[in-house]
Symmetry: C2
């Protein structure tokens, strides 16, 4: 199995100005291609430090992938560091020059000369062309080690990484490559319950590693199969998934990149139902999540963010006396919100959410984190009272996910 | 200056299942405390690899901070690795035991025994207690090197890092510590223009490094002062900031953790104005962003996600003939949306957004990424026609930020 290290380069990473999402993306892609990522290293725009990182990496892995430091400025030192480290001189790549000429043909700029440096690559290396920017990437095979240098801009890096992985896949025979990982996402049960279910499937999981992760109430099971043969690894994953699905049932809402809102959109489509959402404490987050799904406009009719009591009364038709009697954060009001938006938008499903996101707004008996959610579907109303912990943003996220899950379960007819 | 390396531990990081936000947070905090972070390293839950990472780190920096691997399971190997590496035996910390007893006193669980491992720390180390979970952290001083081990759960790690940094600050004299970084956020101008402005301030920036970053249309200028004395570094930053503010004027909307929505909330408060938002293609994102700000409920009256034409007509009062004549994505319709929501919510400011987020929905003359934004404030309407590139999520983000910036400029009376 090929071992790899990812080196991300940039002073802004070392100062904590940005989250290093490149390392995550590359790790994911390499893992999917059956490459074992042993280390991720980040280092600033400093040639000496980068060379020391290259030395350490080349001692401990076979494949090194770097991102960053391929820009046109003097702070971009990856080309020089790699050339120096492997003692391979830099030369200007003809094809990259032509590409840059075409790139600048339609642009008015007096900065063309600055970009010449970006055509420099170590001699005799595989060029990885950039469809989305000016930096040129390259892959150097040096003895048994391979080093691949990609730009740091994600939009440029992603497609260039894909190009390299295509080359990698061609170099390796098909049977050696297989999917070693799979994940399942659950909602509405505790991490403990998920872990117990995983333990019960131990018969199947002997040859694999399982890790659970929790994020905004979503518990994800990551499965890593360790079988040397592709077919066997897939079989282990298949059997484990089957056992887990049997055990965890409807709490599993998806796998891979699936989100709760995606699961909802699939069910709306399947059942041909329309939806409208009335939000208070989530402030539009449920609508935002749903409208991230392409094609949702067929089913998502309307969203209302009724932050003020006036909006709850005027827009959603919540009787004012209900608010006066029970308060805006209450079961009768959330029910009226869901019914109000359903009626108003002529939707099949109405959703209401009201709560106290905090940090202020708590009253006696109504603490920060208290949230009511209602889903009404063809006459039947489900109301859920929740108590979430954490920051304002945490409470918004937990509430939105809980609402999406209630919609999902309603469409599945299991609540 | 103290040099540091951050080691984050977790197989889920190496598989690319999660973004390593801990490294970013710690880097930021250390930089703010005048500590120079030279490397970030990530490694899986593997004792041998972790020990090799510790060896390399202790060769190249003075301070090592690790996160992760302090949980109760056998996969949590940080305690053992550190104990082994420095040849310091582990012992169970009494105070941590008491803390765990209190922690479990109010919880029904039969898993108490599993957590006993979490009280183990290397002998003679400084204990970093955890206010939000069961893991115990610790700081080991070994010769000239210091290693600090923190849990991987961000909510637990953050406060424990603060505890360590307090100890660090006490160890160092106050005059040695200073803020070395500052940033300014701009919107509405290109990275190129920002870079040129930075160049013009070169007289001030000779003693500092400047980096610009672009994210969802926001161009951020990061300034790193390199002066050895705190007062001098602050003076350089002050002078550069002053010069940049003079040059870039109202395009600068904030610094530090400021967001566009925060800038808007400050101006709404200052001008005592209320706002209501009618969104189509952004699907609630502007409302969501605004309601992330605590206390916004005083100014944010209502949001409507009018995805369907019916909702635009019924809810916002957009004349149907306008939609038929110009299409839903047009200047007259966005104007009517902003005016409609303003009138309906009795707000001082009305905002309308309509566009084609893609990837489908384009028509002749109306490509994906075409977005109209309108802001109406006391009778005056501003309409902006935009053309954004990128994915559906990109178009939503660019549109939302552009709308927030228009609200900001309207409140500043500069558009």
């Amino acid at each position: 199995m090929t071992t790899a290290e990812i080196i991300t380069i940039g002073t802004e990473i070392m100062a904590g100005q940005i989250v290093d999402s490149n390392a995550q993306h590359i790790s994911k892609m390499l893992t999917e291609h059956g490459i074992h990522v042993l280390f991720q290293t980040s280092v600033g725009d400093d040639e000496k430090l980068l060379k020391s990182a290259l030395r350490i990496a080349s001692d401990r892995v076979k494949l090194i992938i770097t991102t960053g430091g391929l820009g046109p400025t003097v702070n971009d030192i990856t080309r020089e560091a790699v050339s120096d480290f492997f003692c391979i001189p830099l030369r200007s790549d003809k094809e990259s020059q032509l590409r840059l000429q075409r790139y600048f043909a339609n642009r008015h700029t007096n900065r063309k000369n600055e970009y010449r440096r970006q055509c420099l690559i170590p001699e005799g290396t595989v060029v990885l062309h950039n469809d989305n920017g000016t930096a040129t990437g390259f892959a150097v095979l040096h003895g048994e080690k391979e080093i691949v240098c990609l730009p740091g801009v994600p939009g440029e890096m992603h497609s260039m990484l894909n190009k390299y992985l295509e080359i990698y896949a061609q170099q390796n025979k098909a049977e050696k490559r297989c999917s070693f990982t799979r994940n399942l996402h659950t909602f509405g049960i505790s991490e403990r319950t998920v872990e117990d279910a995983v333990k019960d499937c131990r018969g199947y999981t002997g040859q694999m590693k399982t890790i659970t992760l929790v994020h905004n109430g979503i518990v994800t099971i990551n499965m890593y199969a360790t079988a040397p043969e592709g077919k066997k690894a897939v079989k282990i994953l298949d059997r484990t998934e089957q056992a887990l699905r049997k055990k965890l049932g409807h709490t599993i809402f998806g796998s891979g990149d699936d989100t709760l809102e995606y699961a909802v959109s699939v069910l709306l489509n399947k059942n041909n139902k329309t939806i409208a959402v009335a939000e208070s404490c989530t402030g539009g987050l449920v609508s935002d999540k749903l409208t991230n799904i392409s094609g949702i406009s067929k089913f998502f009719l309307e969203g209302v963010v009724a932050y003020s009591n006036k909006a709850k009364v005027d827009v959603l038709g919540v009787p004012e006396k209900l608010i006066l009697k029970y308060g805006a954060v209450s079961s009768p009001v959330v029910k009226a919100m869901a019914e109000g938006i359903k009626k108003k938008a002529l939707a099949d499903i109405g959703v209401g959410i009201t709560g106290i996101a905090g940090p202020t707004g708590a009253t006696t008996g109504k603490p920060v984190g208290l949230v009511y959610i209602a889903v009404v579907n063809t006459g039947r109303v489900r109301v859920k009272k929740c108590r979430f912990r954490g920051s304002r943003i945490d409470v918004k996220n937990f509430s939105a996910n809980t609402a999406l899950n209630m919609i999902r379960l309603t469409l599945l007819n299991v609540i």
